[in-house]
Symmetry: C2
Subunit: 327 residues, 2 copies
């Protein structure tokens, strides 16, 4: 059975947030109606579940709504697309007041307005856990950055700094102490990530089109998706992984959490471009670091000063399996 | 955090089911890539949650998967569209074996193949309750059937028979006894509804384009959505509501459950066409009944032999509020 005040709730929640320039009919009918797309389109779905991906005492409902949409926008960014419209499924538990959802949608609406994406419909259902599931449609540019496009000889780059979000999560979960500006920075990196939409669009305009992925599962695991789909290997220079001053304040130059932790929503990309990292940073409008190269083979290796680190490489593979076992 | 074997699970589940003719890149990347659409597009999202919308001992995983997609396809049918691609979010609880999801996707894949819709991606997350959330994209035809298009003087029609699914649910929940063929028919009407896609497409080709909605919340409530959005009133002839022989075997000619019960996934539509119900049935390929008319005003009234039934009308309005209170 459809949830009972669905019609009212969705219409009310959507009333103040953008519907998008391409929207002919927004919330309130069986489907939204969207104007003809210019070319190829992107489509993705993602979900945030209370107790699994977030706790309500970590953040405000505004920030939660903003983050739910950002995480989806990041998948559009990773393909180099322009987000156009989205639909939202809310699984709600009865204890939450209506004002909670007003705030959730206010935060979501701000991100939607900044990204130019229309919220064109939704559905509400009851559940034991609050969950926000968003499906988003985007326009593909002339180039689309796929995971299977990495080629031997490409350099491997990342945007921004890596590991901050995992450290922010560790602080929220009480596994890591932090104070002052470092704490504030790291929490914000987890709770309020930035979708790299402009950087993604500019990257996708390069020829040949880079391979790319957003770092959601963690640098090491997401690199694994690239090399698996592209049927190549990779070497990563451990000292080249960009760590923020806040990360270094807490963990020194140990990159393990940067390799294994997820949720940074930075872009990892592979390209044979002759541009330097400095030029790429200028072009993309975000810091870019070269962290390694694509090689023959099927596996990823860690190097320090050109020498392989088999123990840490094994530990990372083991970490991956441990996460699986605990899932 | 993304769920951990997400990549493997989604790719494995999607391997055997259709990706659709318009799909350039299916599951396994950040987004699916879809070819340029022919014109306007439809977009909708819906969710089925264990313990809220279904119980696992009611049905097989195949039937559950089939129903999850059917319910979404019904929203495309209600606009007169052609479904093209969908993405699926699975919220899974650890107790369920992998084979459960193979069967779920097998059922879903059969419906997808019949409807010509591609399953182009997905996401998996842990949760306390199993939930299947599907976002579906469709092509709008030259006419799109909206809820706000009913006009004074239109006749109100429904496809098929009404109330069977609610009666099937009552049997499953032990609120209603039934045996033999009637039981089997009514359970199937709830557990394995038919998306009225072909009928929807043919309806949307009529000029002027009818107003339409699919009956998911219940005939009375869904009629309410039409008259609210169209700013009109309606009169429904209580004896004209099409009841199946199985429904009549159990409830005689009492149409209350047919008015209030949901989940039939038949189409309710309003049109000034000169076609008779018999001609409409032939054109749409599904039985069509004329159950009333659109009038001035803002409310719906029930009539029996041309005389108004204010008590039952009030009771239906009250039933609506009771459902709300219990939600």
């Amino acid at each position: 059975m459809a949830f009972l005040r669905e019609f009212d709730l969705i219409s009310r929640l959507c009333a103040k947030i953008p519907r998008g320039q391409r929207t002919i009919l927004g919330p309130g009918d069986d489907c939204a109606i969207i104007a003809r797309a210019r070319g190829q389109q992107l489509l993705t779905i993602d979900s945030m579940v209370e107790g699994v991906h977030f706790k309500l005492d970590w953040t405000t409902p505004e920030a939660l709504g903003a983050r739910a949409l950002t995480v989806n926008l990041s998948d559009i960014a990773a393909m180099g697309g322009v987000p156009t419209v989205c639909v939202i499924n809310l699984a709600i538990r009865p204890q939450l007041p209506a004002s909670f959802f007003d705030h959730l949608y206010a935060g979501l609406g701000k991100v939607a307005a900044t990204a130019g994406v229309g919220v064109v419909g939704g559905n509400v259902t009851r559940a034991a856990q609050l969950a926000i599931t968003i499906a988003i449609v985007g326009d593909a540019g002339t180039g689309v950055m796929r995971r299977d496009a990495a080629r031997v000889g490409d350099s491997v780059y990342v945007t921004g700094t890596i590991g901050d979000a995992a450290l922010g999560l560790a602080i929220l979960e009480g596994r890591q102490d932090a104070r002052g500006a470092a704490r504030k920075f790291l929490l914000a990196r987890f709770l309020a990530p930035t979708p790299r939409l402009a950087a993604g669009r500019r990257l996708a305009a390069l020829k040949p089109v880079p391979a790319a992925i957003d770092i959601s599962d963690g640098l090491w695991q997401d690199l694994g998706h690239i090399i698996e789909r592209s049927r190549v290997g990779a070497e990563i220079d451990i000292d080249a992984i960009p760590l923020s001053p806040a990360y270094r304040t807490l963990l020194g130059d140990d990159p393990q959490l940067a390799l294994s932790g997820g949720e940074d929503y930075e872009l990892l990309f592979c390209t044979a471009t002759a541009f330097s990292p400095a030029t790429l940073s200028r072009k993309l409008g975000v810091p870019v670091s070269r962290i390694g190269r694509i090689v023959k083979g099927r596996s990823a290796k860690l190097l320090k000063s050109g020498r392989s680190l088999p123990d840490l490489t094994r530990r990372l593979a083991g970490w991956d399996q441990l996460r699986d076992a605990g899932a």
